[in-house]
Subunit: 213 residues, 2 copies
DNA sequence: GTGTTCAGGTGTACGGCGTACACCTGCTGC
DNA sequence: GCAGCAGGTGTACGCCGTACACCTGAACAC
C-alpha cells in the first residue's frame, strides 16, 4: 500500500494523491485504507519512511569525516530527487517518525565520529537544516523551461526594474549558451553550499569552537 | 481584505484560513472575494506581499557589507516570526510576486555593493536559500513545551535507540537548567548559520573565487 | 462441526473546501 | 435618462477526509 502510494505520488504528483484515488488504484473502497493507517497524515509519514529507507547507510569510515557526510547527504539528495514530492511533504511534517529519527541519529553520529564536540554538532545540525536530508529549499526553483522566454519589451522592463536579477540571469544565459538546458545547475548549487558549510564546520572544529566560552 | 486575511491567519492559523471563513469575517458572501482575487493562490500571494512589505529597507551603507546584509535578514526574520504561517506559505509558492522579486533584487544588490562578483553572488543567493527571507527550515522544530516529558522508561529506550540524539538533548537540558524555557534557542541557531555562511562568502570574495577557472 | 474472534473490506453519509456561472445593485459619466 | 461597470449574491458542482455501522471469511479452540 505504501509502495502504491509512493508510486502514485511519483506519477501524478502529491496534490493528486487522495485517499480516494489511492483506494481506486488498489481496487478497493476508500475506507478500506483506514484499516492500515489512522489518517492521511500517517500515510504521508509512511511514504516518507519509504523514501528515507532508500538512503544509503553511512559509508565505511575512510579519510576525512567530511567525505563520509558529503557522500551520505548526496545519497539522500538522490533519493529525494527520485521522489520530487518528498521534500514538500517533509516540510509539512511536525514530528519525525522513528525511521527519520534513526537517520538523524546516525547523521549526528557521523559528525561526532569526525571529532566535532556535542555542542558544535548540535549547532551544525541546525545549520544544515533540510540539507541534512538532501534538499535545500530553493525559493522559487523554476521547473525547467516552464515559462516561455518573455518578449523583448517585457524583458527590457524587467531589466529596468530588477537590474541585479537581470545581471545574474544574463550571466547565466551567457555561461551555458553552449549547453542545451538553460537555468541554474541545481546540483552544483547544492554542493556549493554543502561544501561551504562543511568547510566552515571543520574550521570551527579545528579551532575548538564552543558556544559557551 | 489582504489585511483581514493576514490577521485571520495570524489568529487562527493558515490551515483555518478558507475563502469561506475569510468572507464571513468580512461580512460578505464567499464568492464576493473573487471580485478581488482570481483564486486562493492569488490571495496567498497578496498576503505574502504584505509580510514582505514589513521588512526594513536596506540600512544606509556603513562598514562591512556583512553587517548590512545581516541586519536586513534579521529584519526579515522578525517579520516572518510575526506571521508564523508565512514561511510555510512561502515554501508552497511556485513563482515569486513582483514584490518578492523587488526584495530579492535589492538583496542581490547588497552583495554586489559589498564587492561580490556576479558569479559569486549568484551562488551565494542559492546557498542562502530561504534564509534570505529570514527563515530556515528547521526540520521538525518542536513547538515549545508541546509534548510532555516522557516517563523514565521510554526515555531510557529512546537513549538506547538514539544515543547521539539523546547525547545532544541531555546537553541542551543541562545547559539551560537555569533558564526557564527548555529547547533550542532558535535565534542563536539562525544567527550561527547565517554568520557561518556570510563569513564563508567573505572568504571566497577575498580569494577572488570563481566557479569557472 | 460449531462457535468465537478478528483482520480487513463495504456503503452511506456528513461537513468542509474552492469556485463556475448567472444574476442583482447602486454609483459614475455622459 | 441611461449605459457601463465595480462589486455583492445565490445556487450548485465536484472534490476532499473520514465517522460509523455493517459484512465476510479465515483461524482457531473445543
Amino acid at each position: 500500500m505504501l509502495r502504491a502510494a509512493v508510486a502514485l505520488a511519483d506519477e501524478t504528483g502529491i496534490d493528486a494523491l487522495s485517499m480516494r484515488k489511492l483506494a481506486q488504484v488498489l481496487g478497493v473502497v476508500p475506507m478500506a485504507l483506514y484499516k492500515h493507517v489512522a489518517n492521511k497524515e500517517e500515510l504521508l509519514d509512511g511514504m516518507l519512511d519509504v523514501v528515507v529507507g532508500e538512503i544509503d547507510p553511512p559509508a565505511a569510515a575512510a579519510g576525512d569525516w567530511r567525505d563520509a557526510v558529503r557522500q551520505r547527504i548526496l545519497s539522500a539528495r538522490r533519493a529525494l530527487l527520485r521522489h520530487p514530492w518528498a521534500s514538500r511533504v517533509l516540510e509539512s511534517r511536525t514530528a519525525p517518525t522513528p525511521v527519520v529519527m534513526q537517520y538523524m541519529d546516525s547523521m549526528i553520529g557521523m559528525f561526532r565520529t569526525g571529532g566535532l564536540s556535542v555542542d558544535l554538532t548540535h549547532h551544525v545540525m541546525h545549520a544544515m537544516g533540510s540539507r541534512i536530508l538532501g534538499f535545500s529549499q530553493e525559493l522559487f526553483a523554476t521547473p525547467p523551461s516552464e515559462v516561455a522566454p518573455p518578449d523583448p519589451e517585457t524583458a527590457r522592463q524587467m531589466a529596468a526594474r530588477f537590474p541585479y536579477i537581470s545581471e545574474i540571469t544574463t550571466r547565466i544565459a551567457h555561461d551555458d549558451a553552449s549547453v542545451v538546458g538553460s537555468g541554474c545547475d541545481d546540483q552544483f548549487e547544492f554542493e556549493f553550499s554543502l561544501d561551504l558549510l562543511l568547510d566552515g564546520f571543520e574550521q570551527l572544529r579545528r579551532r575548538g569552537w564552543t558556544s559557551r566560552p
